[in-house]
Symmetry: C2
Subunit: 395 residues, 2 copies
């Protein structure tokens, strides 16, 4: 099996991942869920003709016959929320509040500051071609108009329009269930006092954070020493839960303790790739067993951060039902020189986006610094100078 | 009280908001919390000299005396995780795995691919100025070095370094507690079949989503008709919970049902501002009662979205203990013409960021489209053409 480039690996992963089943949930619980169907307006918005100003409703008949000044009898008031609406007749007017339902017979609203009230009578100076200050039924949104397309994340901005358009339930995909298994006989739990030779494991919390941000669901987390039998036992238990994605870390170097390739083979994992033409990521593997995608990532957390974004996140997005799953490809001006090994591999660096006037910039992130970009350095480059244009993926 | 500009209003709000008390929590629960103190490394990283390759450890003495080839006796193996470490003596070598602790007496690691094993003996060709393939104790991070500064959000990337540096508890600010009260006699709950004149309320869900994204804590949500007594009762109940921020929507127009100014006055709210020189936002108010900040926002959800970002979010960030609380001021090329009313007010528009080559672009968002920018149009402009440079705040 030849080493794959990043794009081919991503295509393979996406072709393999399947969206989770759907479920109908209350709109109030739909934030950050992914729509399984386009969601249309069940009611037009607004669903009745609405006053846009505090003022007075008058008939078209009165407007047509007026020449100098209208004199009308005030016969009542329509506050916002009033539902039993009188019919307005010529010679009459109704006080109406912003948002109130325009009564039958009314053709326009005259803003109150243009009128003069006097003993239950209203005087309105004549003015041709007045604006009617009415928002017509369906003016913002017609019934059936799509508010959120299929395969979109439900965002705060969608919710008021969905609610007002009468949507109270929404069909979404179930969320992806992920598990993390960090391998390494040197690993000890957080809170332990490590001996020389032992390391407090950092990858479980890193992946817990990345997965929560991606799916809003905490992953199952485990740690296991470098023993194939123990790793197989733990993976078998995770597969029985079941989970959609399993991410292992460690056990992927080229030495004699490179366990995951052996483990995957023994378990009958169908391999998607064994090695990639990228750095980090040369020692990374992915495969399928039943309905579960397995990713074997290397041990160093900075590599895990980058490869999660490039390989695991697209899979989680596809399983979540999202339409757009691959990282966007953007360009920015590099603001700090980058040097990489001359080894023909595409290099990926954690980066931080910025701006200078209206120019997008990017720089490599410091160790442990939150990254919002993965900078892509082509295989033929050994050095990219500050000021050069580079490609990056928002992360 | 004169109308304030946006910056002055923001400054007043930030000067009034107080960070919440602190608490110590497990590192594993610290994602998206805000540090109340800088968090330093309790252990150096790595906390022992670590092998960077699978190979063989040899003494400096052997290296110094070698001329053509070293011939050494293999006396054992150090796998990753081995804690009882032998002392290495001249003439001896130990097989060592990547991540393994470098034993006493060892001066460097020779990668295994450079060596030849033969019946328990190792042959290593002589080569001057070899790289030592050892990561020295503290090379990544010295003990005490700050990993996350005070007033920062804990991000996934911080977690592995914190864990590995021996941090297991972290002092953070408690999260801001917010409440939403939507006023309007026309409002009915989601799921209701609204009569003409009634509207299904959209602001509670919009603010629920925005607040969850900002604080990871769901707000208390309520709805109340346009009656001052009822509004005061509900606000009094919220103040007793207690909450740090109350956001009301509606009841802020210039008509006779403009309730919130009256309500604030009756309750003895100390007013920060009554009106701003911005649109939307002319009819918006903020004040303080006890330790609670109150924001009276207008009714239309698009205005609520914008004013939340510009006025409420900075307050929530300050209360959460964040160091940077104001929206960043960026520039971008506008890609669609904008026209606003010529009224001398600064106009704020929900926008969507984009890019064209390495140029940052921004355009107005469609109604109900998720926004990631607030576009700022200065008061003197009536029309900004596509291609012009505009200011925006990432949102």
């Amino acid at each position: 099996m030849p080493d794959l480039d990043l794009q081919t690996a991503q295509r393979l992963i996406i072709a393999t991942a399947r969206p989770r089943p759907t479920e109908s949930i209350p709109l109030a619980a739909s934030l950050d869920r992914v729509t399984a169907l386009g969601v249309g307006a069940r009611l037009p918005v607004p669903h009745f003709d609405q006053a846009l100003m505090d003022g007075f409703a008058i008939t078209g008949h009165d407007l047509d016959r007026a020449t100098d000044e209208l004199q009308l009898t005030i016969v009542g008031e329509i506050a916002a929320g009033r539902t039993h609406l009188p019919r307005l007749r010529p010679g009459q007017t109704l006080r109406i509040m912003t948002g109130g339902a325009v009564p039958h017979g009314a053709a326009l609203i005259i803003p109150q500051e243009e009128c003069r009230e006097q003993e239950g009578r209203l005087r309105v100076p004549f003015r041709p071609n007045r604006r009617n200050w009415i928002r017509a039924r369906g003016e913002i949104l017609a019934r059936g108009k799509v508010i959120v397309g299929k395969g979109e994340l439900v965002r705060p901005e969608h919710l008021p329009l969905l609610a007002t358009a009468g949507v109270s339930e929404i069909v979404v995909h179930q969320r992806p269930r992920a598990a993390v298994l960090s391998t390494g006989s040197e690993l000890v739990e957080i809170g332990a006092a490590p001996d020389k030779g032992q390391v407090i494991s950092g990858n479980p919390l890193l992946l817990d954070g990345l997965i929560r941000h991606a799916t809003n669901l905490p992953p199952t987390i485990g740690m296991v020493p470098d023993r194939p039998g123990r790793i197989i036992d733990q993976l078998t238990a995770l597969l029985a839960q079941p989970v959609d994605v399993i991410i292992t870390t460690g056990g992927m170097g080229p030495g004699r303790y490179d366990l995951l390739p052996r483990v995957f083979q023994e378990m009958g994992v169908e391999i998607l790739y064994r090695s990639l033409k990228i750095r980090p990521g040369k020692g990374t593997m992915a495969g399928v067993l039943g309905n579960t995608l397995l990713f074997a990532l290397p041990g160093p957390p900075p590599a895990v951060r980058i490869l999660f974004n490039e390989l695991v996140l697209p899979a989680l997005k596809k399983i979540h039902g999202l339409k757009r799953v691959l990282p966007a490809n953007r360009r920015a001006v590099l603001t700090r020189e980058v040097r990489v090994k001359r080894n023909g591999l595409q290099h990926l660096l954690a980066g931080v986006q910025g701006s200078r006037e209206n120019t997008t910039t990017v720089r490599p992130a410091a160790h442990g610094e939150p990254a919002d970009a993965i900078i892509v350095i082509p295989g033929r480059r050994r050095r990219v100078k500050a000021g050069e244009l580079v490609c990056y993926h928002p992360a």
